[in-house]
Amino acid sequence: MNLVRRRRLAVFGLTAPAYLWLALTILLPLSAMLFFSFLTQAPFGGRQAELTLGQYGAFLDKAFYRTLAWRSLELGFYVTLGCVAIGYPAALALAKYVKGRWREALFLLIVLPFWSNALVRTFSWTMVLRGDGLVDRMVQAVFPGAPSFGLLFTYPAIVVGLVHSFVPYMILTCYISLQAIDDSLIEAARSLGASAWAVFRRVVLPLSLPGLYAGVVLIFVPAIGSFMEPRILGGPAGIMLGTVIEDQFTVVFNWPLGAALSFILLAIVLAILALAYPLLRRNLQVA
């Protein structure tokens, strides 16, 4: 009895700071924003605000907000796909084929971008991607006379920049799953006559799904809310729901509309995660 109580106290004591911190830094501001989203205007500087559903109504009234929501989701999809395509093979190679010091060195290279400022990374992409930029010059050097092209201020430029920002998450989550797979399982499958492809499809891939799904969720959610990379790399193609939300807060001081759009985006994300929940639960339990 006493032991149970003491253990409960210990659990409470150990987790309380974290919960308190989360409540202070996330729950309170988020509740305030939820409240703002039902107001006619931001209640600062002696302005009188009234309760309204109008901010949410704007999303239904104006078709372009829905277009933007769809654009943001689409961007999240492409970025996640790009991260899977690059990150998963890299994680597989690191976990199963690279050993010792090389692995450490490669990990360092993967984590390196985390240590540089996101804004600096994004601006360095503008130099690489612009017409007559690094990529363009390299292509010209290999194929003289090839037509000049610049990716900067196009949709692909945004995807490139965001994939670069997020791919380390995918590599790390997949790596953790992949290196936990016992090599003897793979050897057993091979000794029973499975081809390399069959081993991957029926042993390695299913066992690494938890890491893959964790990476997808970690990347998809922030990618659809991104606004800095689209603004800098996308030029006229850079308008997303995230950039419009930013404008409401910084340009016209329309906090209620910005908050309402944020919560609509949050609702869409939650709906998608709820739909994927059966899949996620099955696979994340293994981890």
């Binding site: 205007q41 500087g45 104006k62 372009f64 277009t67 933007l68 654009r71 612009r130 017409g131 007559d132 900067l152 201020f153 949709y155 996308g234 030029g235 006229p236 193609a237 850079g238 308008i239 419009v244 404008d247 409401q248 340009v251 016209v252 001081f253 329309n254 509309l257």
Partner: protein
């Protein structure tokens, strides 16, 4: 026992006394009226009034110490005036915001007879209804500028003279645009022959903006970004500010020429005002007179580069090839300007909605 207690109480009393004294000193420092020998100026940082040589000169002549405080937005400036009455003497206000400041009661009328050089100011700016409210003067026109477009003289041989250049299919994909809702709506209103600040037909504005879709290569948001895009050849024609165009040409040697189109352009002007209950109104009047003098303005423009002066006599003393004389000295061009007026929050929100809808259309 009680002796030890008594001894330990003494330091406590000393600490409490020290705190009380410190609080009293702090309250005195914070709440005391400005010393008679001080002049408090509220302005953007690095915007003329705080030029070190000018401050030194004024202090020497008038025997007052000039103290600056800065703001980063018009809203911040208004907040400082509201929350610190009796602190500031001179404040810089964009003419589009002067009426709001007067309505909130944070300014006091200015005695134009005490402003040196007042007679030399351009009547169009000096007598503007933005500054003259209910028969009283609340702002002295100081500097002004134009928002329009600039082009690359190396790549475009014949100087454009129409705002339609921005919509010319010949320059499709070579136009730079500032990602700003109010400015975009204003330019489209000018191009469709409407009142720039309160266009009557917003559908026409919307259509005009949508027609920019094939034209715009990229958006810019700061002078530095503009120069980088221009140098990299991202655009050859772009919306720009007159003062920045002067700096791009003079300080960065870029082949830039600025256009005031025949249809008109966006004009803005800043005034110097005196805060309500200013502690030192006499010095405030003197300081404003000094700021609009040719003596101050010519050196400011030569050394740093400034917007055009509201004092025509000051502009005329600039070197003959100075940007502010060549481009903005054209009286006929000035007639075509429309000046920025106060907008309501509803208008701002509406313009942003139109601009975001347009940008969504661009991206599709």
């Amino acid at each position: 026992m009680s002796e030890t207690k008594g001894r330990s109480r003494a330091p406590t009393i000393a600490i409490v006394a020290a705190i009380v004294v410190a609080a009293a000193v702090a309250a005195y420092v914070l709440l005391r009226p400005s010393a008679p020998g001080e002049l408090h100026v509220l302005n953007w940082q690095g915007y003329g009034t705080d030029e070190a040589w000018a401050v030194a000169l004024f202090e020497e002549r008038h025997g007052v110490k000039v103290i600056h405080d800065n703001f980063n937005s018009e809203q911040e400036m208004l907040t400082k005036l509201r929350t610190s009455p009796g602190t500031y003497d001179v404040v810089l206000i964009n003419s589009a915001f002067t009426e709001q400041a007067v309505a909130e009661g944070v300014l006091q009328p200015i005695d134009s007879a005490k402003i040196a050089n007042f007679a030399d100011l351009s009547p169009a700016l000096r007598d503007s209804p933005r500054f003259n409210i209910d028969g009283k003067l609340y702002g002295v026109a100081w500097v002004w500028g134009v928002t329009s477009f600039a082009y690359n003289t190396d790549k475009i041989a014949s100087p454009p003279d129409s705002i339609e250049t921005l919509w010319d299919p010949q320059y499709a994909g070579r136009i730079g645009w500032r990602d700003d809702a109010v400015e975009s709506v204003s330019l489209a209103a000018i191009a469709t022959g409407q009142d720039m600040n309160h266009p009557a037909d917003l559908d026409k504005v919307r259509e005009k903006l949508r027609a920019l879709k094939p034209q715009i290569k990229t958006f810019w948001s700061s002078e530095d970004e503009w120069n980088k895009h221009f140098t990299a050849g991202d655009f050859d024609i772009a919306v720009y500010w007159s003062g920045s165009a002067a700096r791009s040409k003079k300080a960065f040697n870029l082949p830039v020429a600025f256009v005031i189109p025949k249809e008109g352009a966006i004009g803005w002007f800043d005034g110097l005002s005196i805060a309500k209950d200013a502690p030192n109104p006499a010095a405030a009047h003197a300081f404003i007179g000094f700021m609009v003098s040719p003596e101050f303005y010519v050196r400011w423009d030569n050394e740093v580069g400034a917007p055009a002066s509201a004092n025509a006599a000051a502009n005329n003393q600039l070197p003959a090839d100075a940007f502010n004389r060549v481009v903005l000295g054209d009286a006929a061009a000035l007639e075509r300007l429309q000046f920025m007026a106060p907008l309501t929050d509803e208008e701002r929100a509406k313009y942003l909605e139109i601009w975001e809808e347009t940008k969504t259309y661009f991206a599709q």
